[in-house]
């Protein structure tokens, strides 16, 4: 028997997972087809809603009319972001912050990154130039250099814990063991810290991160915060894992490490996708579909010298026609028209320029999103994921009624 789902979501990143959670909470039978670890695993774990101005939801009004945020009301966006906050609280990875206020978190470059909702392990992350920080790092950790932070916070200091060969991932796993935590604590207590706050790369364990943070703060009698790292990013992976846990609890079927090989359509409907699997391909039937495969980095869009393609459904893609104008002259500031590339959608997040009734699009694959330029990646994923899910629900209800109607006739 081939599985039949209410909704099949292609793409298991932030947008796809948030859509799945909303649909799952509404009692729908959902499958996610995910090709690999999504971009959220590479991210800081912080939710950038719109990194301009002090109030991201207010600043949405100043975006160009083409930006996908402009398809949604402030109330809907707020509701979606609050949904996210409640999911994270339920999954033991509480976030702090308000959708109406941007804040700064300290980065490994010593800069203050503008973001909105942040994991509680980073709550004390806002610093000023006179903050006295004690930065802890680990010998041989490749992508963390306290010197960057010290050059901006001159009254700070740093110390290095020798944990043997290590990576961010291995440290997170080892922090969850009592022995490691104890040896770290006794070393840290010997470091004679007088600074106001302690900062260390985001490696404080996986699910126990908050507990571990509390233990260290209790022993050292001062606040501590994590600094998000370059990939592999424990903070980003925690976020991804929490969302996956939630989706699985809601009965979502996750086809992990699978890509779609063929799409079956009949008239104005997508009926099924076939996914590659060991042994034989699996055909997955759905009443409705959501495409949330990401942009270029995520793999939803592919570019060549000839142009840009959407790789699963071969939907029409908007992109600047002249390849030589895809990128601005300078790397920075990031004025690169190619960031506009993506799928143009209507108010229901259905792709435009193609006659399909049961397909919806969410996340950074949306045209004109410019997630790097505006700093709106995870925020867009959350709200457009929820928006696509709510359009899906409306569609499923309408088609069920329509079906019922036609049956009674």
């Amino acid at each position: 028997m081939e599985p039949v789902y209410d909704v099949v979501i292609i793409g298991g990143g932030m947008a796809g997972l948030m859509a799945a959670i909303r649909l799952g909470r509404a009692g729908k039978h959902v499958a996610i087809v995910s090709r690999g670890d999504p971009i959220v695993c590479l991210s800081t774990g912080c939710i950038d809603v719109l990194a301009c101005g002090g109030n991201p939801l207010e600043a949405v009004g100043e975006l160009p009319k083409t930006h996908p945020y402009r398809l949604l009301s402030t109330e809907f966006m707020m509701e979606a972001l609050n949904d996210f906050l409640s999911v994270m609280a339920e999954e033991g990875l509480p976030y702090v912050g308000s959708p109406f206020e941007n804040r700064k978190v300290l980065t490994p470059l010593g800069a203050g990154k503008t973001t909105c909702l942040i994991p509680q392990t980073m709550a004390h992350s806002t610093v000023s130039s006179d903050t006295r920080l004690h930065v802890v790092t680990f010998a041989g950790l490749k992508d963390f250099y306290p010197g960057y932070i010290l050059s901006r916070l001159p009254t700070s200091e740093y110390s290095v814990f020798d944990a043997g060969p290590c990576s961010t991932l291995s440290l997170a796993t080892r922090f969850e063991t009592r022995d490691f935590l104890e040896s770290f604590l006794s070393w840290l207590k010997g470091a004679d810290i007088t600074a106001d706050k302690i900062a260390l790369p985001a490696v404080l364990g996986w699910r126990k991160a908050l507990e571990i943070k509390a233990v260290i703060e209790g022993e050292l009698k001062r606040p501590l915060f994590e600094i998000p790292t370059l990939p592999p990013s424990v903070a980003g992976m925690r976020l991804h894992r929490a969302l996956v846990r939630k989706a699985l609890k809601l009965g979502v079927q996750l086809y992990k490490g699978r890509s779609v090989s063929t799409v079956e359509k009949a008239g104005r409907l997508v009926e099924a996708v076939t996914i590659e699997a060991p042994g034989r391909p699996i055909r997955v039937n759905g009443q409705a579909f959501i495409l949330s495969t990401g942009s270029f980095v995520g793999g939803g869009l592919a570019s060549s010298r000839a142009g840009v393609e959407e790789v699963v459904f071969h939907l029409p893609v908007y992109y600047p026609p002249d390849r030589t104008s895809w990128f601005g002259e300078r790397f920075f500031p990031p004025e690169h028209p190619i960031e506009d590339a993506g799928i143009i959608v209507d108010k229901e997040f259905r792709p435009q320029g193609v006659e399909i009734d049961n397909l919806f699009v969410a996340g950074s694959i949306l045209a004109y999103a410019r997630v790097l330029r505006y700093g709106c990646g995870h925020g867009l994923a959350i709200v457009s994921g929820e928006a696509a899910a709510s359009s899906c629900l409306k569609y499923l209800q309408a088609s069920a009624e329509g079906y019922a109607c036609s049956r009674t006739v």
């Binding site: 306290p146 270029f296 690169h336």
Partner: protein
């Protein structure tokens, strides 16, 4: 091996009280020619200062194919230049083993390419003394399996691949060991004249903004495409034709031999394997200004198209970067096509203490340096024979990270995964040369030369420098932004497919993870 007789004499005080340094010879320009002259002077015991505006090999030296010509390329159009090439090719293979890979080269004749040209090619190679071997298509395909299988035949010649950065650095080793001084990131802002004679230069340290005055008996202008600009500082003229050539780099080696098209010199008919990558080029476009080095999109298309004729898989290969160099060619009255201008060189004695050298090519740099140094020796009334062909380049055993097998032997604490550069090497480089630009570290260690083009390891290199406490936040910001902008300039023409994807990821990393550009 001889050691220097004359040492740097230390700073003296000039007429107006400013610090003045005296030496015998000033060389302006740190390309292969300038560095070659420095080595030659050093081996003849003559004190000298070399002044370079950027890093070594900044101009055409660093922006060429990295091809040590056998001379075959010029054998039909310019047999004299071809003869210089094969002679120097033999010498360099002897003295510079560690910065040369003896790949051998093929001249490939495709359907439609002139048979008559091929006959003249073979005839002239014989006359000039370039050894050749005619290969059947199947033999050629055994040597380079990726070759266009439709080839008619291939002719093997002793082309090699050469690392121009290392070549410059090794020449400078000989100079430094004998008291020579090389100032990089110093711009010559004035050629000092007294009674109509050039007696020295004022050089601006581009980092500290301090001006140094250096005086010498002779000033040598070895600034390649900038030769005209430099000569004008002394009120002199150098007749140059500037010809821009563009090249592109793939992310891996598609051939282990140099591959040339057997036809009169044209666009995009040479592919050179270099370390882990391949370089294909070039174009030839006359430009008015040596700083005009934009790679046009038509050049990119043309180069891919032509390279794919020789090696079909080039069409789908990942291009990681493009770059351009400007050839300083000798201006000829009636030449309409700069490809037809001789690749030989010319020394111009301005008879006022300034001597310029123009034209030539990387392969003949040593010979050019020898001829120039002979003239300089005459001018300063010193006598010593040229020894640069007699002794191997010094310092080859200490070459950082070389060869690959050495790098593979120890993989701990790698900072640059693409090129296997270790933290220790970065630290050593920083300690040795100070820190000014990330590119200085790149040239000396190959950090950032792979597919990500420094996207990841630049942050690490700069982090190491930070941890060494060497740098202020302003310097750090400047270095990082300068590097990322320059890097982007090279990558921009090649942004599609995998390279575009990687670029967007690197951009996301700097903007959205590291918060670059934010307070």
């Amino acid at each position: 091996m001889p050691v220097g007789r004359k040492r740097w004499k230390g700073p003296l005080t000039g007429s107006k009280g400013e610090m003045v340094t005296r030496t015998d010879v000033i060389i302006i320009g740190g390309g292969a020619t300038g560095c070659g002259i420095a080595r030659d002077l050093a081996l003849r015991g003559i004190g000298h200062y070399l002044i370079e505006e950027g890093d070594f090999a900044r101009g055409a030296t660093g922006a060429c194919h990295g091809l040590l010509h056998s001379g075959a390329r010029y054998v039909v159009s310019d047999p004299e230049a071809a003869k210089e090439c094969i002679e120097e090719n033999r010498i360099l293979r002897r003295i510079g083993k560690k910065c040369i890979e003896q790949t051998g080269g093929l001249f490939v004749r495709l359907p439609g390419d002139s048979k008559k040209f091929r006959d003249r090619f073979l005839e002239n190679c014989e006359r000039v003394g370039i050894p050749t071997q005619i290969l059947s298509p199947s033999r050629a395909l055994e040597l380079v399996p990726q070759l266009n299988p439709e080839l008619e035949e291939a002719i093997a010649v002793p082309d090699c691949s050469i690392d121009p950065f290392r070549l410059c650095l090794l020449n400078i080793v000989s100079s430094r060991r004998r008291g020579g001084v090389a100032l990089i990131h110093h711009k010559v802002v004035e050629i000092v004249k007294e009674k109509g004679r050039c007696v020295g230069v004022k050089a601006l340290d581009l980092f500290t903004k301090q001006v140094k005055e250096i005086r010498a008996k002779v000033v040598v202008n070895a600034t390649g495409a900038w030769g005209g600009k430099t000569a004008r500082l002394a009120g002199c003229d150098v007749p140059l034709t500037l010809s821009k050539g563009s090249l592109i780099i793939t992310d891996h080696r598609l051939t282990n031999m140099v591959v040339n098209r057997l036809r009169p010199a044209s666009n995009g008919d040479i592919i050179v394997p270099n370390e882990a990558v391949c370089v294909a080029g070039t174009t030839s476009v006359d430009v008015p200004d040596p700083d005009e080095t934009r790679l046009e999109s038509w050049e990119m298309e043309l180069l891919i198209q032509e390279a794919s004729r020789l090696i079909p898989s080039f069409a789908s290969a990942r291009i990681i970067r493009g770059y351009t160099g400007v050839r300083p060619l000798i201006k000829e009255e009636c030449a309409t096509d700069s490809r037809k201008i001789s690749r030989s060189f010319k020394i111009i004695d301005h008879e006022n203490g300034l001597i310029s050298i123009i034209g030539g090519k990387l392969t003949t740099y040593r010979y050019m340096a020898e001829k120039m140094t002979d003239l300089v020796m005459d001018k300063i009334g010193a006598k010593a024979p040229c020894l640069t062909a007699e002794y191997p380049l010094e310092g080859q055993d200490e070459l950082s990270g070389y060869p690959l097998s050495k790098r593979l032997a120890d993989l701990s604490d790698i900072v640059c995964e693409c090129e296997l550069v270790k933290r220790e090497e970065v630290e050593q480089t920083v300690n040795r040369i100070g820190v000014r630009y990330i590119s200085d570290i790149q040239h000396r260690t190959r950090l950032g030369m792979g597919p990500c083009q420094g996207g990841f390891c630049t942050y690490r290199a700069l982090g190491i420098i930070h941890n060494m406490g060497r740098i202020s936040i302003e310097e750090s910001r400047y270095i990082l932004e300068d590097f990322l902008q320059r890097r982007f300039r090279g990558i921009r023409p090649a942004l599609w497919g995998a390279q575009l994807r990687e670029e967007q990821m690197v951009e996301g990393m700097y903007l959205r993870i590291l918060g670059m550009g934010e307070g």
